[in-house]
């Protein structure tokens, strides 16, 4: 028997299929790309990734345009064609290809599918877009949903929570995020590592917001980073780097990381205090917990005996807790991830309004169940990468009302948005002409932090 070589598809065909899979099956973009990878020529892969991110970043914008172009909506079973045209519109708009080539590439995809009937439709729609581009764009920009490329329910929530700032937040969520590193302080100083990067001709600067952060001017594959395999640095957004600083682990501490995978923050804790007594890392997914293990081997070889790894639901304390209370707890709770949309634009497709209530319940259970595992005088750091107050400030407010032995501890992070409890970091927007702004405020994701102390 002879095995068939997997037929490779064009970049635009792959883009359309992947985006369609994300949108219709509500599956995360990285998973969809990985599933389809063997059908993509390796040299096309970066292009396909960029195309997918471009479309998902501005999905509502392209959707508005395509819906205006269509006389009547396409059937449910033809969503693949819908997303093919969407990909074609993106290609015409931001694809760096001559228009005729972009149209040709897109139309050609229909020849290789069983939907040859769609050939003329795809062609007509793209040519109509080409003719009416400026009108269509201005119409799309007049509608906040398509202008800010944000689902209506989320737009309303952000408008409501941040009346004076919602435009900036939404614009920031559309920007391309920087690649941010965290220097492993046990191995080298930030200055040393900046020098190493300079030697490799990788332009970078110290991140002004954090002690160990470095902003790369251009994203690179981690294998190109000096000493990455040896554990000199990790990739982590600057907002997430406050975690270890705020929890501030001390020598001899027993610490719990309740939702640890993939372990970025877990490892930061031990990097900042290798003398802590024990670090218990729990995650509900055994598969994702394996990533924590990999990160331990890379970043803290020799400190393995300090870790206890358990695959469990942290809220189910009866199942995993031995009754010994912790000095400090990091609760990086499951959340809507609305603060990291610029890194994961597929969030806008995957989340729906009802998820917020489900997540609130999960977060509340985690807080309630983990609180008894904390020593008197101990500190719990509640963190989310959400910007929705229900998951953050309001969650904590409710918790404090029902727990008399809990108090919120004040702290200051330079870029936080004032809250009644804790600090809300918002995704930072950078206008291209404002260099001083870039230096002073850095460039971070949206995050929420609140320090709770047990009386």
């Amino acid at each position: 028997m002879q095995k068939q070589k997997t037929k490779k598809v064009s970049a635009i065909a792959a883009t359309a299929t992947i985006v369609n899979n994300v949108v219709t099956n509500k599956k995360p973009l990285p998973d969809c790309i990985a599933e389809y990878q063997q059908k993509i020529n390796s040299e096309d892969l970066p292009k396909v990734q960029a195309y997918c991110y471009n479309i998902l970043r501005r999905y509502e914008f392209y959707q508005f345009i395509l819906d205006s172009l269509l006389d009547k909506p396409l059937k449910n079973k033809d969503q693949d064609i819908y997303h093919l045209v969407l990909s074609g519109v993106m290609l015409l708009n931001e694809g760096n290809l001559p228009a005729h080539a972009a149209i040709n590439e897109t139309v050609n995809v229909t020849r290789k599918t069983k939907k040859i009937w769609a050939k003329n439709l795809v062609n007509a729609l793209l040519r109509r877009y080409q003719r009416d581009q400026s009108n269509l764009h201005s119409a799309a920009d007049n509608n906040p949903v398509s202008h800010y490329c944000c689902p209506e329910w989320l737009l309303k929530k952000i408008q409501h929570a941040y009346p004076g700032m919602w435009q900036t937040i939404l614009k920031a969520s559309l920007q391309h995020p920087p690649m941010t590193l965290r220097v492993n302080q046990r191995m080298n100083s930030r200055e040393d590592y900046l020098n190493l990067l300079r030697e490799r001709k990788l332009p970078a600067q110290a991140c002004p917001l954090t002690r160990h952060g470095i902003l790369l001017e251009q994203a690179v594959n981690v294998e190109k980073l000096p000493l990455f395999a040896k554990g000199a640095v990790s990739v982590q957004d600057s907002a997430a780097q406050y975690c270890a600083e705020l929890l501030n682990p001390q020598a001899g501490d027993h610490i719990l990381d309740a939702c640890a995978a993939p372990g970025g923050k877990t490892l930061h804790l031990i990097e900042s205090c290798p003398d802590l007594a024990q670090l218990t890392a729990i995650d509900i997914s055994a598969k994702r917990l394996a990533k924590v293990q990999q990160n331990i081997l890379r970043l803290a070889p020799g400190l393995q005996n300090k870790f206890v790894l358990m695959a469990a639901n942290a809220a189910d304390t009866q199942n995993w807790w031995n009754g010994k209370q912790f000095d400090r707890i990091l609760l990086d709770a499951p959340c809507s991830a609305t603060g990291i949309i610029r890194r994961h634009p597929d969030i806008k497709r995957l989340r729906k309004i009802s998820d917020i209530d489900t997540l609130r319940v999960t977060q509340q259970q985690l807080l309630d169940q983990l609180w008894p595992t904390l020593k008197n005088g101990g500190i719990l750091l509640y963190a989310t990468c959400s910007i929705i107050p229900e998951e953050n400030e309001q969650q904590i407010k409710a918790f404090l009302t029902s727990h008399n032995d809990a108090q919120s501890v004040d702290f200051d992070v330079s870029c936080g948005h004032p809250c009644e409890y804790g600090q809300q970091l918002l995704p930072t927007y950078q206008s291209s002409d404002d260099q001083t702004d870039k230096k002073n405020r850095g460039n971070s994701d949206g995050f929420y932090y609140c320090l709770l102390q047990k009386k």
């Binding site: 028997m1 002879q2 095995k3 068939q4």
Partner: protein, 167 residues
């Protein structure tokens, strides 16, 4: 080791029903070595002795990417089968032709190795398909037999044309 000549469809010798192997002598071992060499060179993932004009119930298989998991299947019997799958199959006797064929998804196989030792094997996915495809060869059956008469004729013409162009 030597490379063997692979018979091409519609060669009538491909229709021969193969005989049970009873004498596991050095010739069998030599044959399987040559069949592996021929199969790897083709390149293919499975070869039945029928395809090299030896009409004994002998199959060589290796579905690994690294070509490091050779499997010799002699006197095979499928004792259990379940499920259904259809992947595009190709055959070294019909180069360049790929068509989906309905097969059992999971099979349980009893067979002998090249020394005549009996063994059992659970197979699914590609391995299962490959075993079923090769056992068909031993029966004088080809995967195109599962297709419609029209499709089979089209393939026959296509192969004849390709052969003509080669000469």
């Amino acid at each position: 080791m030597a490379l063997l000549n692979i018979l091409n469809f519609p060669d009538p010798r491909l229709r021969t029903r193969a005989k049970q192997v009873t004498d596991f002598n050095h010739k069998i071992s030599e044959l399987t070595d040559n069949m592996f060499a021929t199969m790897y060179a083709a390149p293919g993932i499975g070869l039945a002795a029928t395809q090299v004009n030896v009409h004994q119930r002998i199959i060589t298989i290796d579905i690994s990417e690294e070509k490091n998991q050779p499997l010799v299947v002699i006197n095979p019997i499928i004792v259990e089968k379940e499920g259904e799958q259809a992947i595009d199959e190709g055959c070294l006797s019909l180069p360049g032709i790929y068509e989906p064929v309905k097969r059992y998804d999971k099979i349980h196989l009893k067979a002998q190795d090249k020394h005549g030792e009996f063994y059992e094997l659970d197979a699914e996915g590609l391995l299962s398909v490959c075993i079923q495809h090769e056992i068909d060869h031993l029966e004088g059956k080809l995967f195109v037999d599962y297709l419609s008469e029209m499709k089979r004729n089209r393939i026959r013409k296509k192969l004849a044309k390709a052969l003509k162009e080669q000469q």
